[in-house]
Symmetry: C3
Subunit: 327 residues, 3 copies
């Protein structure tokens, strides 16, 4: 229930404990709400008040490049006082054919208790979680076209921070839905939280698995009553294609947030985008930092969301240790 | 006035505050002198006395490779207790066509307040400083053939440490002047500080924009009365060229510091080089660590100069915050 | 004498001091025993009790890729509270033809007092140790087909932890002996510590320089009475070779630890492997984490062994400083 999440709430909340953080589907709605609450609580703190976790060794395994997710986790880890051990996939034994499980087993032998992993392999985390030799906690930093649950947590936190509720908020997700792990996590989660969802973009990028969460519509038909417009990044720019510039213009005109469309939005409505933005493709250049854009707010919240996630992971580890010590 | 800079000065100096540190031309002579003073003050401290800056997040964006400037900044940041967030340009969204401003905006959203940037694009920093969305401080780690102001600060500090003054010191800068950002920054700064400058090297590597700072001469004609010989690195070694070895020998004989030329130098004269050195090209192998060489002293001073620069940047940020808090 | 190494020994041991740590041959047997002792002592500590070294700047120069050795050193350095300065060989001036000595001289000028180096060049460390301008301590993280002394220390520590002595232990080293730096360091060291050594594997991978340490035998002839079976990684997998799979199977059948061979081992015998493992080549997949496998124990001990080595290096530096201060 969202009634438990209130700004300025001074009641001591129970500690959130997580074993892993791999997909939004595995998180109860109550847990998501608690994480939103905690994210905003951390955001209100002065850096000197940040929760500190001691002797916690963590490693980030980014097998796919990522500037902002990787940086965001790194800053969150520093703020929590974690010991971050850099892992460079380019020079790792994974290149020599070692399995991900064996690599993580090595990290575990070195005392690393948590790994943040981004991989192009969908559901890579199942093998790690189910390996009887592994006790390491797994935080999913994105898996193929699967999930990107920390991005979802920051997105729903940004929406909750703005409106204070989800029930019946009109939210459109627009773009390459079939390849977007952000869209998939967000649709599932926002639907569960009570929002009314619309999906927009080229028909060949739509995917009928979204049908159960909302309606596939023309952006022009919903723009006027939306509360939130979530734009997705066009992933497969082909700069070598001589028609690239034409295609970019066509996408912007047909599916992007043009100045004309933005002008029709409600005064209270906000714009979101996971970034990096293709200026003048998904969104007009002038709108990236306009008043209703929450694009940089999302990044800011992302760091706090990741602090909340990592704190909950460490709490989960401490809890397990206490249980093991008793038994 | 250089009279304000005295070794062992116990009078409390006012804090140096900088918004950015991007080119020597933007620094007043008084500010340069204050930074020299502070650099040498930090150098005399025991590591436990180093000034500490808390909760200061900084990121180093080196789009061009650099061992020593990058390492030097990293060590300086550690000594100051800064939180350094690693940024890997190879995997960054800049590769996906994101502008430098958008990348820095992301870092800013994550709470990073200072960036050290090296880029092949001349004056890249102007776009960052003039972007109304950016409040991040920029420290220039080298821009194309433009400036390398932290190298200049360490160079003038090394000269001041040696002689205690600049007025009428006879300084030659020898080598590829037209492509050297080090030469450009140093010429402008040393001229302003009162030194008498000479420029040497192949004529095709000279550039008449140096005319206003000093005289283009033959090294043989000035070697006997120089106080400082600053050698520049030959940048464009072409190892695949079958004539490479011959060219190296010819450069050394015609323009380099041979044993014969070194023998003609005044007993008090010193040799400088920004490193890495091409042994037996700019300078004879035996002379790299000879008694009058200050090459490794320069590197040592570089770290202290960067500590002074970063400290001044953080002071500048605190000052702005105080002003904002009052207004 | 091994009598000085006892678990639970409460007598204050003298501090171990090292100038460098580059090859097992340069370590006296007493020193090796003291390092084994100290490694197991650190292993018994709670992380909050770990020895701390302050203001110690260290840099890891891995010119050859390595996941586990590099990570293991990094974690050890963090636990000791060292300041680790990342060095990226890919962007370093070594690529511009700078010698390793000149690079290390630069690091020294920046205040770095210890370097951990892995290089494909055998005995690269001799040039560093003998350079009169260098005072930096060198820790060898592996040199060509030469030495890998920190791996040897962790291997002998793992054996000592298991059995409590070395005298007359029957130890086989099996695999590509001619290219293995691990085998070479271990053979020399275990022979000196009193173990009885056997060498197994394809004859073309044997090297008569091992003759003086033990006997070249068929694995089948010794498997039943071995105390320790040390398997070596098959390094030169040629995945592109159409016969690769056949060759892997043949190696496993002829020279690897099959289920059948494992079944013939003594109940107290253990299996070791420096990892990463080629499953079903050197060792059957099911045996990698079997009860007698110490493969992940080796990695764990590796971190403690590296803490002991680095601590001894820092002690050595402090000792030299004290002597210099007195003289």
């Amino acid at each position: 229930m969202l009634t438990t999440i209130q700004a300025g709430n001074t009641i001591q909340q129970p500690k959130i404990c997580l074993d892993h953080f791999v997909s939004t589907e595995q998180l109860s709605t109550a847990l998501v709400e608690a994480l939103i609450h905690r994210t905003l609580e951390i955001k209100r703190m002065h850096p000197s008040q940040y929760p500190k976790v001691e002797h916690a060794l963590i490693s980030n395994l980014f097998f796919e490049p990522s500037t902002r997710t990787h940086l965001s986790f790194q800053v969150a880890q520093r703020h929590l006082g974690m010991e971050v051990i850099e892992f460079d996939p380019a020079t790792s034994s994974v290149k020599k054919g070692e399995t991900l499980s064996d690599t993580v087993l090595t990290l575990q032998a070195l005392g690393i208790s948590t790994v943040v992993v981004r991989s192009s392999e969908e559901k890579y985390y199942e093998a790690l979680i189910n390996d009887p030799n592994l006790t390491v906690s797994v935080v999913n930093g994105g898996d193929g076209s699967g999930q990107h649950p920390s991005q979802s947590l920051l997105d729903v936190t940004t929406i909750y921070e703005e409106f204070g509720f989800f029930k019946d908020l009109k939210i459109a997700i627009a773009g390459d839905l079939s390849h977007s792990r952000v869209a998939r996590s967000n649709a599932e989660l926002l639907y569960r939280l009570g929002a009314k969802l619309y999906f927009c973009g080229p028909h060949e990028w739509y995917d009928s698995t979204y049908d159960r969460f909302g309606e596939y519509v023309e952006l022009n038909d919903v723009i006027e009553f939306l509360d939130v417009l979530m734009l997705l990044r066009v992933q497969h720019e082909r700069h070598e294609d001589p028609r690239a510039e034409l295609l970019r213009e066509a996408y912007h005109y047909n599916y992007g947030l043009t100045l004309q469309r933005e002008d029709r939005m409600k005064s209270s409505a906000i714009i979101m985008h996971p970034a990096p933005v293709n200026r003048d493709v998904e969104i007009a250049d002038e709108l990236v930092t306009c008043q209703r854009s929450r694009i940089y707010r999302q990044m800011e919240n992302g760091m706090f969301a990741r602090m909340a996630i990592l704190e909950a992971i460490i709490h989960g580890q401490h809890e397990k240790e206490s249980i093991n010590a008793l038994s």
